[in-house]
């Protein structure tokens, strides 16, 4: 980073700290307080009580998730084993004639052996080489494969959390996204995922937490639904277990 830039950031930081007291003090004053409020009682935290009691059975969760995912234009399938899921990915990749595939650097995917099963496809593993420009690799990929961190049945949503081994680009830039959902990560409500995030230590908090509910879409031209505007237009949710 250039020296000049550093000084600007330092200078802005100084200004920000100086301004903070005035800015937030002004808010306190408008609210009729002399000093900034102490931690208030927080009686209405999160969803209403009746909602937090909702918990579906595993079969119900799977069925509702698949319905929701399909109703917004996604494809969903269910498998008993990872081996079956792998075969599905291999078949689709061959069918689509995928030349480039990028996948997260996750243990489940390392064990899958996609590389051997798709010898004609150039398969890259996210952030496996520090010299590589990984965003461009993801942008050039036909298919991105990831194992999700959680899924939510009620809304038909998957969540993917960023880390050195899990790029945000892998679920965003390729034309096709394939998301593997280990069945024990499938929850009924969003609140179950939120609880986990609220309970995290700062050091563990991922920089990017993404909730994805189907293919990228827009209705901006004459209300006409268009799929795949910026993000992947073809999305597969593969429930395993």
């Amino acid at each position: 980073m250039a020296d000049q830039e550093m000084t600007l950031l330092e200078q802005l930081e100084k200004e920000s700290r100086a301004k903070q007291a005035k800015f937030i003090g002004g808010i306190a004053e408008k609210l009729g307080r002399k000093d900034i409020a102490q931690k208030p009682q927080h009686p209405f935290r999160g969803a209403p009580d009746f909602w937090t009691q909702l918990n579906w059975t595993q079969e119900e969760k799977i069925e509702r998730f698949m319905d929701n995912w399909q109703s917004v234009g996604g494809h969903a399938a269910r498998f008993q084993t990872m081996e079956e899921a792998k075969q599905f990915i291999v078949d689709r990749a061959n069918e689509l004639g995928a030349q480039n595939l990028i996948r997260q650097n996750q243990p489940e995917l390392n064990e899958l052996g996609l590389e051997e099963a798709l010898p004609a496809t150039d398969i890259r593993v996210w952030n496996s080489d520090p010299e590589e420009y990984w965003k461009a690799q993801a942008a050039g990929a036909d298919i991105g494969v990831a194992v999700v961190d959680h899924a939510i049945a009620y809304t038909g949503t998957i969540t993917v959390w960023s880390s050195p081994d899990k790029g945000r680009s892998v679920t965003l830039l390729p034309t096709v996204m394939m998301a593997i959902i280990p069945v024990e990560r499938l929850k009924t409500r969003m609140g179950e995922v939120m609880e986990k995030i609220d309970g995290m230590r700062r050091d563990d908090l991922p920089a990017g937490i993404h909730f994805i509910t189907g293919p990228s879409r827009s209705s901006d031209i004459e209300n006409d639904l268009t799929i795949g505007v910026h993000g992947p237009g073809i999305v597969y949710a593969l429930i395993v277990g």
């Binding site: 908090l205 509910t213 505007v229 993000g231």
Partner: protein
């Protein structure tokens, strides 16, 4: 600070809209689609009133303790590695953005949809510095090419048809593109991919900011906000100071209310929570992240009992879709950054100068549909009345109206005066009344008679007829049966003795 006010009155601007047949149909179609979508989604979800109430409680609580929660957010965002800045007004926010952009020697900025950035007119400022500013939301990109402003908070290019869009995009492509939605969208996808990869800076708005974790949250369907917050090296987020909620648990409530109210979706395709720049070992995400917290008139509503709840707004647009006035005149007639019922209240409320208050507060039927639609129960129709009140109190009412009201009071408070005025009217109208109607547009009758006709005064007024009317009523009443009369008399007797009575 101007809020993008356009010239002319609401009436003049709405005439442009009313004359544009396509716009009217498009607005009607879109608002109905969104409104029906909302109804279906909320019915299916169930217990909607309980959710609304919970949403209101969370927003009320946060705003009532905004000093605490904003401070908490700032400290936590800093701990995540974010550079936090404060801007008292639009000018300061623009200056801060420009300083950051200049230090990065940026040539290009990609932007995802942000109403705050519309408030600040940041694109014009960037372009003045020779920096290209590219809107990347499909609708925003289209209206940027057309050099226009958004007409709907959720569907900004609601007023353009596919042929107009094809023409705009063809110019950009350097070849003729057919007016086919998927081809047009495909062109934009390719074109903007290049822009995302070229840009030094990504600029976003902020739907919610979470105090306990210092995260900012974006809701979107296209993926462009994810692009803007993933690809460029520097991210600048413009955030209204009231966007705060305490925890992720509270985000579940907002995520339940916002998409269902906006488009009828269970959840937008993408909901992203960004907590600081990329971690050292991450291979994507911004290396440097700035959040500019913007006041720009918002604090004027704090501590104001009539308008503080405006800060609860979650920018879903449901009030626009519910509003009979919006459906007829469209967004541009409102003349500010925000349109519809929320815009009618918010635009003047964000300005401190009463004299600049627009006449838009009068373009409302006060039917309350906006309140019914609002997922956090902001009483917008009441606020419109307060706004009219204040305008009159501060002396910005119409002089003619004031004189008229005084005269009316003088006449009505005296029966002799009333009688003679009616008599004068009955004689005077003989010049202009034809077949029971007055159609002339002279003097004070112009406004009324240009869209409808005034019925003439009857030859005999109600007051004049009262004497004979009373006799007629008496005579036509059938005689009361003895039994009923007895009961009535008894009841009357009881009341005299202090018995219970209704009401």
């Amino acid at each position: 600070m101007s809020h993008g006010q356009q010239a002319g009155t609401v009436k003049e601007r709405s005439h442009i809209a009313l004359n544009n047949e396509f716009l009217r149909k498009a607005v009607k179609f879109t608002t109905e689609r969104l409104r029906n979508g909302k109804k279906k989604a909320t019915d299916e979800h169930g217990n909607w009133e309980e959710w609304r109430e919970r949403g209101r409680q969370i927003r009320l609580h946060t705003i009532a303790h905004l000093d605490y929660y904003l401070n908490q957010f700032v400290e936590n965002a800093r701990a995540n590695g974010v550079h936090v800045h404060f801007a008292a007004d639009g000018k300061e926010a623009v200056e801060l953005s420009m300083k950051i952009a200049a230090s990065k020697q940026a040539r290009s900025v990609v932007k995802s949809k942000s109403m705050v950035s519309e408030e600040l007119h940041i694109n014009a400022a960037l372009e003045k510095m020779g920096i290209e500013a590219v809107e990347t939301d499909l609708g925003e990109y289209i209206i940027q090419l057309a050099g226009e402003t958004p007409s709907h908070i959720i569907i900004p290019a609601i007023h353009k048809n596919r042929y107009q869009i094809a023409e705009l995009l063809s110019k950009e492509a350097g070849e003729t593109l057919p007016a086919d939605t998927s081809i047009l969208a495909g062109f934009v996808r390719r074109k903007l991919r290049e822009k995302f990869l070229d840009a030094e800076i990504g600029m976003t708005g902020c739907n919610f900011a979470i105090a306990e974790t210092g995260s900012m949250v974006l809701f979107e369907n296209e993926g462009n906000a994810r692009m803007v917050s993933t690809v460029p090296k520097t991210q600048i987020t413009l955030m209204g100071m009231e966007r705060i909620i305490p925890t992720f648990a509270d985000l579940e409530v907002m995520a339940t209310l916002l998409p269902r109210s906006a488009t009828g979706q269970k959840l937008t395709v993408y909901m992203s929570a960004i907590s600081g720049p990329k971690r050292d070992a991450d291979a994507d995400g911004p290396e440097e992240m700035h959040i500019i917290i913007v006041d720009n008139g918002r604090s004027l509503q704090l501590g104001d009992p009539e308008f503080q709840e405006l800060l609860n707004c979650i920018r879903c647009g449901a009030c626009l879709n519910a509003c009979p006035v919006y459906r007829h005149i469209g967004g541009h007639a409102y003349g500010g950054t925000y349109s519809g019922p929320i815009g009618a209240v918010l635009t003047p409320a964000l300005q401190s100068n009463v004299a600049e208050w627009d006449d838009i507060a009068n373009a409302s039927s006060l039917c309350g549909a906006c309140y019914e639609a609002c997922p956090v129960k902001i009483p917008l129709h009441d606020m419109l009345v307060y706004l009219r009140n204040r305008k009159v109190e501060k002396g910005y009412g119409q002089t003619a109206e004031k004189i008229g009201m005084k005269g009316f009071a003088a006449i009505m408070s005296n029966s002799k005066r009333m009688r003679s005025v009616i008599k004068m009217g009955q004689i005077g109208q003989k010049l202009v009344a034809r077949q029971g109607m007055i159609k002339t547009k002279i003097g004070p009758l112009k406004g009324w008679n240009s869209v409808r006709h005034l019925p003439s005064l009857p030859n005999q007024s109600f007051r004049e007829r009262w004497g004979t009317l009373e006799q007629e009523v008496q005579a036509s009443n059938p005689k009361m049966s003895d039994e009923v009369r007895q009961r009535m008399e008894q009841a009357l007797e009881q009341r005299k003795n202090g018995g219970r009575h209704h009401g």
